[in-house]
């Protein structure tokens, strides 16, 4: 069976334009994704990745918006590149229907395309499901997305190494400016090539039209995603869970109801355990208070900046009798995978690192971690422990 490919604009030049966009943008998605693994500090998921990680370093606390930026870029770019990836795949799909090459090296190259294409589709699908809290796949998102990333990276690096000369040659084969001036009536096929249809239909769209359509898809998705990260644009993320908030509230990263924490555990009997010293909420409120504007930034790419008030962690370390702590272990009243967080020395000593009692001038709501929660500059939201039960400062 032979397929008659109909599009007259499919060809190496158009493929290379999409390829160039992905070549520039995907490394940003890859690096920001791998940085996320580093940002989890001493509790990365998956824990044992062999040598497949960025060089280890202590995740910084400055600038405070660092994780907001890296994770916002990872998720945001990942979403807006979907139309470019689909267009790139459309532009090369005739190759899928050609026979497997006899040459074993070429056949292996073809196999690597499974890693490339399967890898990126797997990353897109698992990523999109995760940010919308749809765990229909039933396996660990973190592990799958991390392994899938490295399978994709392997395929991507090889693909770029093999195809870069072709891409450069194809891009030079036509003038980009000329193409932007070419209307539908003057749109002709590229010179014969394995991607160019030998017997195409008349064009219904110019090349510049096709680029505009893909660009329009990018803009559409960007418009529907930006509100996840920019508080003022929140409602414009029309179709994402993080475009919505309860009236007068800001996004919650896990509700009190879902935490399994009992009313009693955070009631009058609640005490903050500093190891030897136990403080009531009133005693905490009587300590010197500090206010800081800090973002909550989540691994799902959303973030929000709020004004937090509470006790500096370094002051609490002094109360606990630990001078110049080398770090801290925070645990929550809640039980579960994210009920404990380990902080580095920098994260404890930063002047804006707080055990917050209030947000925006009012006591924390139960959903935001009442009686007290951790808020640390640039720390992934999941480690800004809510319903704090104990802080163990390490000497």
């Amino acid at each position: 069976m032979t397929i008659r490919w109909r599009s007259p604009i499919r060809g190496p030049w158009l493929t290379s334009v999409f390829g160039l966009v992905l070549l520039c943008a995907l490394p940003v998605v890859i690096v920001t994704g791998l940085l996320d693994w580093v940002a989890y500090g001493s509790q990365p998921i998956p824990a044992d990745v062999g040598f497949l990680h960025l060089p280890a370093f202590d995740w910084p606390t400055r600038p405070a918006w660092l994780f907001r930026l890296t994770q916002g870029l990872h998720v945001g770019l990942g979403i807006v590149l979907v139309p470019v990836v689909l267009a790139k795949l459309w532009s090369v799909i005739p190759k899928l229907f050609t026979a497997l090459p006899r040459n074993p090296l070429k056949a292996l190259e073809r196999l690597s395309l499974i890693m490339l294409v399967g890898g990126i589709l797997f990353e897109i699908v698992t990523g999109l499901l995760n940010i919308q809290y749809d765990y229909v796949f039933g396996f660990s998102f973190y592990a799958a997305h991390y392994v899938g990333a490295w399978v994709f990276i392997a395929g991507f690096v090889l693909h770029v190494a093999l195809k870069l000369p072709t891409m450069m040659r194809s891009l030079r084969s036509r003038s980009f400016r000329e193409e932007l001036r070419t209307p539908l009536a003057e749109t002709r096929s590229e010179p014969p090539d394995e991607l160019v249809a030998p017997d195409p239909d008349p064009p219904t769209m110019s090349r510049r039209g096709a680029l505009a359509v893909v660009g329009g898809g990018v803009v559409l998705l960007a418009g529907l995603t930006l509100g996840q990260t920019v508080d003022a644009l929140r409602p414009t993320a029309l179709l994402l869970p993080r475009g919505r908030t309860a009236p007068g509230d800001f996004p919650v990263n896990r509700t009190f109801a879902a935490s399994g924490v009992s009313e009693q555990a955070i009631g009058a009997e609640w005490r903050l355990d500093l190891g030897g010293v136990r403080l009531t909420r009133a005693e905490l409120a009587a300590l010197p208070q500090h206010t800081a504007d800090l973002p909550i930034s989540c691994v799902e790419g959303w973030s929000t900046q709020q004004t937090w008030t509470g006790v500096r962690l370094r002051d609490l370390a002094a109360v606990a009798g630990v001078d110049g702590p080398s770090g801290a272990d925070v645990s929550s009243v809640e039980e579960g995978p994210f009920a404990r967080a380990s902080l580095t020395s920098d994260q404890v000593l930063h002047p804006d690192s707080l055990l917050a009692l209030q947000v925006n001038g009012a006591d924390l709501s139960r959903d935001h971690g009442f009686p007290a929660r951790i808020i640390v500059p640039a720390l992934p939201g999941v480690h800004c422990t809510k319903w704090v039960a104990a802080i163990g400062f390490r000497a």
Binding site: R6, P46, D48, L108, S112, V125, G148, A154, T204, R244
Partner: protein, 141 residues
């Protein structure tokens, strides 16, 4: 040189999968991950592509008009399909208990919002077509 590159790439991919093998708690997930990996590929290549190619082919059945209708139908369809695929969980309300636990909110508004978005794209596209027809009539009679 080429051989080294291809072998190194395949080796790196294979090594990546050992992350799963090294963690016994992930072993029950191996089959699922493989199915989703292959499924994503096959779904795109053998379902999604033939479907959208066939849909695009169907556009040739549109009546011939002085200002061609094809892109005025194609573009809103593409916009609808793209947003449907990307924002599918909210639109079909899949995973609602987890959404509620994470955000405190439901997925109730998303289907209607998506339909309104589609309607807006169709409306704008139709309006532009009418404007083009009118201008052409005014210019050419």
């Amino acid at each position: 040189m080429r051989v080294v590159g291809v072998v190194a790439c395949l080796a790196l991919g294979a090594y990546a999968t050992t992350i799963i093998l090294r963690d016994p708690t992930l072993h029950p997930s191996i089959l699922g991950m493989l199915i989703w990996f292959a499924g994503a590929l096959l779904l795109h290549d053998l379902v999604l592509f033939p479907l959208y190619a066939a849909a695009d082919r169907a556009l040739t059945l549109l009546p011939t008009t002085r200002v061609p209708l094809v892109n005025h139908v194609r573009l809103p369809l593409m916009g609808a399909a793209l947003t449907f695929l990307v924002f599918l969980p909210g639109i079909i309300r899949q995973g609602e208990p987890v959404v509620r636990g994470a955000t405190g909110l439901d997925q109730e508004p998303f289907l209607a919002r998506w339909l309104w978005l589609c309607a807006a794209m169709v409306g704008v596209s139709a309006l532009v077509w009418v404007v083009r027809v009118t201008r052409r009539s005014a210019a050419g009679g």
